[in-house]
Subunit: 298 residues, 2 copies
């Protein structure tokens, strides 16, 4: 699947309509990025609250807003579902039948197997492409939107069994338009890797936050913690609804990753216990050296 | 022990000599911070390598350099041991007998029980004060030194059973001079809290780094990870020698913290497993909401 890095990848046609369902951090930032680089593209936003549409319009992120996704889906050349994963799964079946000929449906969900399965169930699978831009923040909502969010990020494209080449190219063009680098992964491989590189770090940050909070008075935590605590626990501030959908839709991979993390903690515990008791100097030190070099590699 | 927040805390006398043993990130930054705010204070640096002394002199961080700590200890009004914790423990017995009358010995070590025990063993315990400024980075060495490192940081002072009030005040004055806020903790309480707020985050970052690296090709890790991975694993890049000493000198507290973390991961695993299988919606969501609010509190 080399379509996505063709040098002659066409840019999105002038005057196209991009409709984004969900104006949180990811959807809002995408709208902002498109309008910043391609003012000729019409961006339609869909949100549940009129205040969100008003704010997005006022900031110049969208040209038109709807409280329901159907009119946006009917008008779109590119329809982007930027809501939590399980909501994406529901919306695919509801909106795919409304797509115009030549329009594509994609999403920004953090897990892909469930989304691709939903896309393969509809008759319009040729027009569906799963997407996952690898970027984000622990803050959420339109307020946190940033037109630079996608710049330099990897934008994963997952084809369905039926996806047409032109549909892949159109979504790849959207990725490039906002400064991201499109790459292609299969949905199952994507979810297995992300369970470790993204979802496990969230679980670890959450459990670390709780472990510390259980035994540490807030006053002591405030005085006696610094950048290490702040960075290691940062992901625990992620949006609960978004994380719930990710966790449930990638359950088996994440459970496996948690078990591997538990085993690694057990190895560390034994190493530290033995280091101090037997004075077997060297084992822990070698482990720490190796860990640092692993951290530096990617 | 209110000495340290007296409004009339005297500043360090003009022309005092501060000797810093170890010109890594912490010692180098302290030297830089002192010379930046109080050029009249003479700063002596001690390092193992002549190149380090030359670089520190050239950058204006020290006025004089030695390859051995003894001459620095003899000249100091404030002697600061800025080396890994187990080296601090060794140096206390070796250097305390060289202190001039009215001079103080302190350190920048991340654990305090072992240091305070060493300080209480020498006859000069009145002149000894344990210190731990709560700041740092995962990078190490003089190259990474930053005169702003201490600004706004908590600077923990741990008295020995014999520490004189004037000695506490002098070290508190040093903390204030570089922009830090002195607070007093007992050594045992300090070590128990730091095991959770600082040492456990390191252990978790190390184990997370290894768990991910074991199963993920470097190419995939590079493409499919972002800020979440980077922040959560950042501490795994910490200096191995420094961490080894911290881990071994706070072993019991850290082992306990690791066990609490393992238990918390087990809770999470059960919650996720049950959420998906029984559809018992709400339990996981409540857990995620609570975790986010815990992360936001401090």
């Amino acid at each position: 699947m080399n379509a996505v890095d063709k040098p002659e990848l066409p840019s999105i046609p002038c005057g196209s309509v991009v409709a984004i369902v969900g104006l949180g951090l990811m959807g809002g930032s995408l709208a902002a990025a498109i309008k910043a680089s391609r003012p000729d593209i019409k961006v339609i936003g869909v949100a549940r609250r009129p205040e969100t549409l008003a704010q997005a319009t006022q900031r110049g992120f969208i040209d038109e807003g709807f409280l329901e996704p159907e009119p946006a889906a009917q008008a779109a050349d590119i329809l982007v579902l930027a809501v939590p994963v399980l909501s994406i799964v529901n919306l695919v079946g509801r909106l795919a039948p409304l797509l115009r000929e030549g329009a594509v449906l994609t999403d920004l969900g953090s897990t892909k197997v469930a989304v691709i399965q939903a896309m393969e169930k509809v008759r319009w699978g040729a027009q569906c492409v799963g997407s996952h831009p690898i970027c984000g923040k622990e803050v959420s909502g339109l307020d946190a939107s940033d037109p630079q969010l996608y710049r330099g990020a990897t934008w994963v494209l997952c084809p369905t069994d039926f996806t047409a080449t032109w549909a892949m190219e159109l979504v790849a063009s959207l990725a490039k338009e906002v400064g991201a680098e499109p790459v292609v992964y299969g949905a199952a491989e994507h979810d297995a890797i992300l369970a470790r590189t993204s979802h496990l770090p969230f679980v670890v940050a959450a459990c670390l936050t709780r472990t510390i909070a259980k035994k540490t008075a807030p006053h002591d935590l405030r005085l006696l913690s610094a950048g290490g605590y702040r960075d290691t626990t940062r992901l625990a501030g992620s949006d609960p609804q978004m994380m719930q959908d990710i966790l449930v839709s990638n359950r088996a991979n994440i459970l496996e990753a948690i078990e591997q993390m538990q085993a690694e903690l057990e190895v560390f515990k034994q190493l530290l216990a033995n280091e101090a008791e037997s004075g077997a100097a060297g084992l822990l030190r070698g482990y720490l050296e190796e860990t640092r070099s692993l951290r530096r590699q990617p």
